[in-house]
């Protein structure tokens, strides 16, 4: 007699709740009148995240479990990453709730009569909220998935809504749609690579689970060529998502074109989810084969740091600059993949969390700097902002200093924790390259500080809008966390240490 497989719904509850919330959002979109949708949708989205977090809190004690017939591992690192993603999504939704960043009617052709009508009547479509929740559900699944099929499904669930969301900008819509298309095409390619790699790994090990692959590598009885091809192609898919060189070329265009709250959401949450999955795959499945992949990942990490740092110097657009900065940070994070030890994992967990808050805050500030036609992202027009709005410029400076890793900000402790793990594993090269590229990245962050504070403005047209209460709250939370985790990092670092485990 067949028995139904044990799914352990309680362990999967955080993901299921987010999916449920997303479906509810779709229903609201169909039933509720247009005028009152935005408020209901944002309440549902925020409530869903809170509820999901509550359920995650309930399972956080029951670590080291597998669910859904072994295709999902509930372990410390997975729960920590899920928790981080939920908290960050909550803040991101606070930014997204400022719906005038998004196209009133996405289906209307840019510049058409239909679009004008939608803008004039103020009938704002709010599909952005369920789309965000769908993406979040994928992000929650991706870092805990422990077989290749689940990984692929999670990857697609998190990516597809993002492709749409990138194209929803209200202003400069053609640029936004171009970004969405570019993201979609390259993303589809990378998914194909991922699948191709997964097939080869199955061919090599005869197993879809990360654990099975690890055992096959330990037994060392199969054809290594399949393993190498598998690792290479699977890595391409992952490295694309985290924006590592040479798979980074989509990042600046998409970051620039997407609506700024979405850029923040992608830069923080997508990177964390993808990095979480990457860490799991390399730590659990490929740990034994480190001699095969370490030289390549080391090269990629170094290239990523240098290209990200150097290319950012010449950027004139603040969103493109932050895009290249996020590439450089992806390079730093790869140091944790190379470390392959608990301290490296601890460092990476802490780094991801602090980086997420700082990134969201920085993009939140960008949504505030505007002229009559919308956001201003041209850095030359940010000149002298410190004089006009000292608080906004000051908080942005704080985020930049944290990115640069100046002590007493969270970014510094994160960098320290990460590089300590890497040094312990004997990867001194990446530590040295890492600190040197940190100096390069400091240059372009400080260049912005100079523009904000030490240069007099030439044009008067830029102004800082008075932020809505939600945006203000979100930015304040990000700023406070950036300082608090810089001064008293133990609050999170100890948690990261306790949670820094992967189970097989």
């Amino acid at each position: 007699m067949l028995t139904a497989p044990q799914l352990s719904y309680s362990l999967l509850a955080p993901i299921l709740i987010v999916l449920g919330g997303a479906l509810l959002g779709v229903l609201v979109e169909a039933i509720v009148k247009k005028g009152s949708r935005a408020a209901i949708q944002s309440t549902i989205a925020l409530g869903t995240i809170v509820l999901s977090f509550a359920f995650l809190w309930r399972v956080h004690g029951q670590t080291s479990r597998t669910a859904a017939v072994g295709s999902v591992s509930i372990d410390g690192a997975g729960i920590f990453i899920q928790g981080t993603i939920l908290v960050l999504s909550f803040i991101a939704i606070l930014f997204i709730a400022d719906t005038d960043n998004f196209a009133a009617q996405a289906s209307a052709i840019p510049g058409s009569q239909e679009e004008r009508l939608a803008l004039e009547t103020g009938k704002q479509q709010t599909e952005i909220f369920p789309l965000t929740l769908f993406a979040v559900s994928g992000m929650l699944l991706f870092p805990i998935a422990s077989d290749l099929i689940t990984l692929f499904v999670a990857l697609e669930v998190l990516s597809l809504p993002l492709y749409l969301m990138a194209g929803l900008s209200r202003r400069r819509r053609l640029l936004s749609q171009e970004a969405a298309l570019k993201y979609f095409l390259l993303g589809a390619f990378s998914s194909a690579f991922f699948l191709f790699g997964a097939a080869f790994l199955y061919g090599y090990s005869g197993s879809m689970s990360l654990d099975g692959i690890a055992s096959a590598i330990a037994a060392n009885s199969a054809n290594d060529v399949f393993l190498l091809i598998g690792i290479a192609f699977l890595s391409v898919g992952l490295l694309f998502k985290i924006g590592a060189v040479p798979f980074h070329s989509w990042t600046p265009d998409v970051y620039q074109g997407a609506p700024t709250p979405i850029t923040g959401f992608m830069a923080a949450c997508t990177k964390i989810a993808a990095m979480g999955a990457t860490l799991r795959i390399f730590y659990v499945a490929f740990g034994q084969a480190e001699w095969q992949w370490k030289p390549i990942i080391l090269t990629i990490a170094i290239l990523t740091m240098i290209v990200g740092g150097v290319a950012a110097i010449s950027q004139r657009d603040v969103k493109r600059m932050l895009a290249f900065s996020s590439i450089a940070h992806a390079g730093f994070l790869l140091a944790a993949v190379l470390a392959l030890n608990t301290d490296g994992l601890k460092g990476a967990l802490f780094y991801l969390a602090t980086y997420g808050f700082t990134t969201l805050g920085a993009f939140g500030i960008i949504t505030l700097v505007r002229d009559s036609s919308g956001e201003v992202t041209d850095l030359n027009r940010w000149v002298g902002l410190g004089k006009k709005s000292p608080l906004t410029a000051g908080v942005f400076t704080l985020f930049l200093l944290s990115f640069a890793g100046i002590p007493l900000t969270s970014g510094f402790v994160a960098k320290f924790a990460l590089f300590t793990g890497a040094y312990e594993s004997g990867n001194t090269v990446i530590v040295v390259v890492g600190v040197l590229t940190s100096a390069i990245t400091a240059f372009f962050y400080l260049r912005v500080v100079v523009m904000l504070f030490f240069t007099d403005s030439k044009s008067e047209s830029v102004s800082v809008v008075i932020p809505s209460i939600m945006t203000r709250l979100a930015i304040a939370v990000c700023a406070i966390i950036t300082i608090v985790l810089g001064v008293a990092p133990s609050l999170l670092l100890n948690t990261a240490q306790t949670f820094a485990t992967f189970i097989r």
Partner: protein, 501 residues
């Protein structure tokens, strides 16, 4: 709570108080800030009185867990070297605040911000000399760049934004190399004795020599940029030309001492073998700094540039004294740090007053000031004499000790270094002649002399230069046990002078 911690907290509390003061009360803000720094001065004097001179170990020790998962502690404590440097800091802060009474008003931001930045800086300057946890030291070492960056960029003159940027990038690059070395030391410690950043515990590590050399260089390059040693000095003249006199005093007088202090506290203590290996190279660099700084000082037309290059020459002497590896040289170098702090303060402050009266910083624009403004001219003259280490002024004692301490181990280096004194006479006397003596340059006839506030500010500096010139014993008594301890720990025995016939 240790008295050192109190010393750190008071300026911070002052910053909070500063922002509680009502708007538009610039005068009150200034008085309040000077009051805060005076309280700090009094407490530091109390600390100095309570300091036990006979003990070579750290005193006023405090240690609290800060980041437990890395074994990082908030750990402070002072020995003789740290004590005199902290005292120098707490004396200089009220003086520069008083001397630069109007500096905060032409800045990009309000005076409130200026005074807040200086007080934050004071907290960090005390903290950086008192830290006995390498991580704590590193954090303050890097974080103190930010207030200076805003002080130069926001309140300086000329190409201030570029100068601030150059200063910060140079320092950050050095700091980041040091970060790699800090991480390396920590990892070695974790493998040998467990997670700790305590400098005493770290000094007992067994490190293989190749690694030790790399770690030493990581620390040393950071300190050599800070100090600054040739060829890593190029940020200093631009920063000194752009900063306000008060900022320049704190930058060259105190912050740059963190570099030389770090060489003593970390380079030599943590990596004695590597320090031994690199000593010849460092001595050569010091000598180049001495001569290069002196020659460029002779050629300077800008008075702040002149002071900057003389400082590069003097930092050469300090580094020479440290790496002579004798306790005499080390005491001399530590004393030199203090004296250089005060003589640079005198030079920058008087030069700043001269410049603000004349509206120019070019040496050739002055001339005949002795007749027009006798008090200001005398103050500049004494400061200049202190820079050339005239006997009877405190710099002479330290320069003498450094050269004697060097001679016992490296006679040739001492002889070459001595030529630096001759060049010093040249650049100081030329400047004095051009700016103070001779006929009064047109446009200078109606300059006003120092007012009472400026006299009060400069008087203690000159008093210190003269008093410790004749009677340096109180300071050397404090320094000697500490210097001896550092050298003994590093495994050096002072060479005995050969008996004369």
């Amino acid at each position: 709570m240790s008295i050192v911690t109190v010393l750190e907290l008071i300026p911070l509390l002052g910053v909070i108080g500063l922002f509680a003061l009502p708007k538009g009360s610039t005068k009150l803000i200034k008085q309040f800030s000077i009051g805060v720094s005076l309280v700090d001065l009094i407490i530091s004097v109390v600390m100095a009185v309570r300091f036990n001179r006979g003990v070579s170990a750290m005193q006023f020790v405090e240690s609290r867990t800060w980041i437990s998962s890395f074994g990082i502690k908030y750990a402070v404590g002072i020995d003789g070297i740290a004590l005199v440097l902290i005292l120098m800091t707490t004396v200089l802060v009220p003086i520069v605040l008083l001397a630069g009474w109007n500096e905060s008003e032409n800045g990009r931001w309000s005076p409130r911000v200026y005074y807040a930045l200086i007080l934050i800086l004071e907290t960090m300057m005390v903290g950086v000399f008192a830290a006995t946890d390498v991580f704590l030291f590193y954090v303050i070492f890097e974080a103190m760049l930010i207030p200076v960056y805003f002080l130069i960029g926001g309140y300086g003159r000329g190409e201030r934004a570029q100068a601030a940027m150059k200063f910060l990038l140079y320092s950050l690059l050095g700091g980041l190399l040091m970060l790699a070395a800090v991480i390396g030391t920590y990892v070695i410690a974790t493998n040998q004795i467990g997670s700790t950043f305590d400098v005493t515990a770290l000094s007992g590590l067994h490190i293989d020599s190749a690694t030790e050399n790399m770690l030493f260089l990581g620390f040393f390059i950071a300190f050599a940029i800070k100090a600054p040693l040739w060829p890593l000095h190029t940020w200093l003249p631009t920063a000194a030309k752009s900063a306000t006199p008060a900022t320049s005093v704190l930058l060259l007088g105190v912050l740059d001492k963190v570099g030389t202090y770090g060489m003593i506290r970390f380079c030599i203590t943590l990596f004695p073998h590597a320090a031994h290996t690199f000593t010849p190279m460092i001595i050569v660099l010091s000598l180049i700094s001495i001569l290069y700084g002196a020659f460029l000082a002779i050629g300077q037309r800008d008075i702040n540039g002149l002071i900057a290059f003389t400082s590069i020459s003097h930092f050469g002497f300090i580094t020479l004294g440290i790496f002579a590896m004798t306790s005499q040289g080390l005491t001399g170098a530590s004393l030199y740090m203090v004296n250089h702090g005060f003589s640079t303060a005198a030079l920058f402050l008087v030069a700043g007053w001269m410049a603000s009266r004349r509206g120019s910083t070019k040496i050739e624009d002055f001339g005949g000031l002795q007749r027009v403004t006798p008090v200001m001219a005398w103050a500049f003259f004494i400061a200049g004499m202190s820079a050339l280490a005239l006997p009877g002024l405190s710099s002479f004692v330290s320069e003498f000790l450094v050269l004697v301490g060097t001679f016992t181990r490296y006679p040739l280096a001492a002889i070459i270094g001595t030529t630096g004194i001759v060049l010093a006479a040249l650049y100081v006397l030329l400047t004095v002649q051009r700016s103070l003596h001779g006929p009064t340059t047109p446009g200078n006839e109606s300059l006003s002399d120092l007012n009472i506030r400026e006299k009060i500010a400069i008087a203690p500096v000159i008093a210190i230069l003269v008093i410790f010139g004749f009677f340096p014993k109180p300071i050397t008594d404090v320094l000697n046990p500490a210097s001896h301890e550092v050298m003994t720990h590093a495994g050096y025995v002072d060479p005995q002078p050969k008996a004369g016939k």
